[in-house]
């Protein structure tokens, strides 16, 4: 057991898998010699050498296309897209190539790869470097989509993603890189498609992802301490596959649903979860399901504006409190 940053967990997770399987290779911009712009892959180049850890040109389409071709023919590539906003320049691979090739070929084509990318706000980088774009991927049939909130989940879910035979888009939150957590020694392998109840509760279910998880937990503490509301906090972790059972069971116990989404509102993952719960657990609900999201606007650069725009602990507390009529 050791304390590790989320950032270092990325490198440890990749190293664990590269050590295990010589077919795991890693490519991206400035990821090798420089160790990545977020310093999340420091040491891999030294440990695994220039054939397995490779710097690329600024050619995101080539990066993802090459990852796909390698995956189709026997490697297990991990590709880095530096900021998740840049998925927009290589979206054809995400939307049209990775997820459809197996289906179109009637099962012939395999695509076991992982795209890691720095997601989310908090660094005051402005509208083109701060987005939460997990819904860009969740909406595409054939992908798997993961977003860990803690160092141990980074390692375990990254390992699961690398071992998974399908294309997995792996969202690391930039504002979590510096956060720390306890991580057991030895190999860590988690399971995709499993949500985690991080705080059991009986009055409301709060579903959160990535950076919103610590905020939801803090909000739950305040709700409990100051308002006597006992909220259950679920870290959804994996958007696809989605652990609907954990969510539906939780709502079955608490009878109220809140989602905390960093993405701008329209068509966020919370909408999908609300639509599932509203359909399948309508009679379990004692009141309206409520989404707490970033408003549907581009992100401002200014620090205090950026802090205002994302769901805050306070906004979560106030929303749940008000909705529960306390």
């Amino acid at each position: 057991m050791a304390e590790l940053t989320y950032r270092d967990a990325v490198a440890r997770g990749i190293a664990q898998e590269m050590t295990r399987d010589p077919d795991v290779v890693f490519l991206g911009e400035d990821v090798a010699k420089a160790g990545g712009v977020f310093k999340a892959t420091v040491g891999l180049y030294e440990q695994f050498g220039p054939l397995r850890v490779r710097d690329t040109p600024i050619s995101e389409q080539a990066i993802l296309g090459a990852a796909m071709g390698a995956a189709m023919t026997g490697l297990k590539p991990i590709a880095e897209i530096m900021f998740s906003d840049f998925i927009a320049v290589c979206f054809d691979y995400i939307a049209n190539e990775f997820p459809k090739s197996r289906y179109m070929s009637n099962g012939q084509t395999k695509c076991p790869l992982v795209v890691r990318t720095g997601n989310g706000a908090g660094s005051r980088f402005g509208a083109q470097h701060s987005q939460s774009v997990e819904n860009w991927c969740m909406m595409i049939p054939g992908l798997k989509v993961v977003a860990p909130s803690s160092p141990v989940d980074v390692i375990g879910l990254l390992a699961a993603a690398v071992r998974d035979p399908d294309p997995v888009i792996f969202f690391e939150h930039k504002s979590l890189y510096a956060t720390k957590g306890e991580v057991p020694d030895g190999e860590i392998v988690d399971r995709l498609g499993t949500a985690k109840i991080l705080r059991p509760g009986k009055d409301a279910t709060i579903i959160a992802l990535a950076l919103m998880v610590p905020r939801a937990l803090e909000a739950a503490d305040i709700l409990h301490r100051e308002h006597g509301i006992d909220a259950e906090v679920v870290d959804v972790r994996s958007l696809v596959p989605l652990d609907t059972q954990t969510i539906l069971n939780s709502v079955g116990r608490t009878h109220r649903l809140f989602t905390v989404e960093e993405n701008p509102r329209l068509c966020g993952w919370g909408a999908e979860i609300v639509s599932i719960v509203a359909d399948e657990a309508f009679y379990d609900l004692d009141g309206p399901p409520v989404r707490i999201t970033t408003p549907h606007i581009p992100l401002p650069a200014n620090d205090f504006l950026e802090d205002m725009v994302l769901p805050t602990v306070n906004r979560i507390v106030e929303t749940v409190k008000r909705s529960l009529g306390s």
Binding site: P57, G65, A70, M72, L75, D92, S105, P141, G142
Partner: protein, 340 residues
């Protein structure tokens, strides 16, 4: 790899050899007849969706495929019937897919634009312009990394040279010295627009080779021998670890862009001019020059005719795919479950 030199009846220097030459002819006739049949079936309303024929461009598919070894990989476009057939996939499986029957290459799930037969090295046909060029780089990267000797070949059209992915792939392949060969089939048109109207250089691929530190290669794509020799050279270079090649093959499609296109935008006489340089006709004459007897040629042609006829009947008799396959093979577990 070295072509054996043989002397022929006509005394011509035959670096290709009769066996290979017959194979090149056989392949071209097969592509021609199978696609002609696809067109007939379309007129009978038996081909569903769209389809993009390579009639007139057969020498490229045949020449490259004959130069490939087992294990070499083809990455094609929506205009991929010819390349798929040339790698040895049966006419039945290709026509079956065009007719979206259960005997089709992908049981009708992919359709004519996405023919894939990994066992034949056909790693897919891609319908988004340019997408497969980087993908071919990845397959080549695997070969390089694993020390395999296979070559990845990406086929694409003239119009494809103007999309970003072309540029990224060419640079990437050159920098990583990948065993990949990029084959531009310049048939003078994108869909309906002449390539010259939308391209800054006269030869869309060849005139850009230098931008990637590559040799300028521009060949007659309707002469299967020239194609074959050029392919051999590029493959040898790739296998020797000397990196990618970019080859521009001049050719012409006899039919419209896709089944919906009567190709009215062509200047008068253009098609006729190119039909005089028809690769199949040209190669038939070539065989004769090399002393191949008419009955040998006729036998090839009738064998092919029979294969295509039998395939047609088999496809007409084939059932539709069962409804269950609708939701299979989205994920590697065989299913489509995105939730529990």
């Amino acid at each position: 790899m070295k072509p054996s030199k043989q002397s022929t009846a006509a005394g011509l220097n035959d670096d290709i050899g009769e066996a290979k030459r017959l194979a090149l002819y056989r392949s071209q006739v097969r592509l021609r007849d199978a696609e002609q049949r696809a067109f007939d079936l379309f007129l009978q309303n038996l081909v569903k969706g769209t389809s993009h024929l390579s009639l007139g461009q057969e020498a490229i598919a045949a020449g490259f495929a004959e130069a490939m070894e087992k294990g070499d990989l083809s990455f094609c476009t929506y205009r991929g019937h010819a390349h798929t057939l040339a790698r040895g996939v049966s006419v039945e499986k290709v026509l079956g897919e065009l007719m979206q029957r259960d005997n089709g290459l992908m049981r009708g799930k992919g359709g004519s634009m996405h023919l894939t037969s990994e066992e034949h090295g056909v790693m897919g046909c891609y319908a988004i312009i340019g997408a497969h060029l980087p993908i071919a780089c990845g397959a080549a990267w695997r070969a390089q990394y694993k020390g395999h000797k296979d070559v990845s070949v990406a086929f694409f059209g003239d119009g494809t040279t103007n999309i970003g992915a072309f540029h990224e792939a060419l640079n990437f392949a050159a920098v990583w010295k990948l065993p990949v060969v990029f084959v531009c089939e310049n048939n003078l048109y994108m869909e309906y627009t002449p390539i010259g109207d939308v391209t800054a250089v006269p030869q869309p691929a060849a005139d850009r080779a230098s931008a990637y530190g590559l040799e300028r290669i521009l060949i007659d794509g309707n002469d299967a021998d020239i194609v074959y020799r050029t392919a051999q050279k590029a493959f040898a270079k790739a296998r020797a670890g000397e990196g990618p090649s970019l080859i521009e093959c001049l050719t012409y499609r006899h039919s419209g862009h896709s089944r919906a296109d009567p190709a009215k935008y062509r200047p008068e006489g253009e098609l006729e001019k190119w039909k005089e340089h028809d690769p199949v006709k040209l190669y038939r004459e070539r065989l004769k020059q090399f002393g191949v007897k008419e009955d040998v040629i006729a036998k090839i042609e009738s064998d092919i005719r029979r294969e295509v006829d039998e395939a047609t009947e088999a496809c007409k008799a084939a059932p539709l795919p069962p409804a269950e396959i609708l939701t299979t093979d989205v994920y590697a577990d065989g299913g489509w479950a995105w939730r529990n």
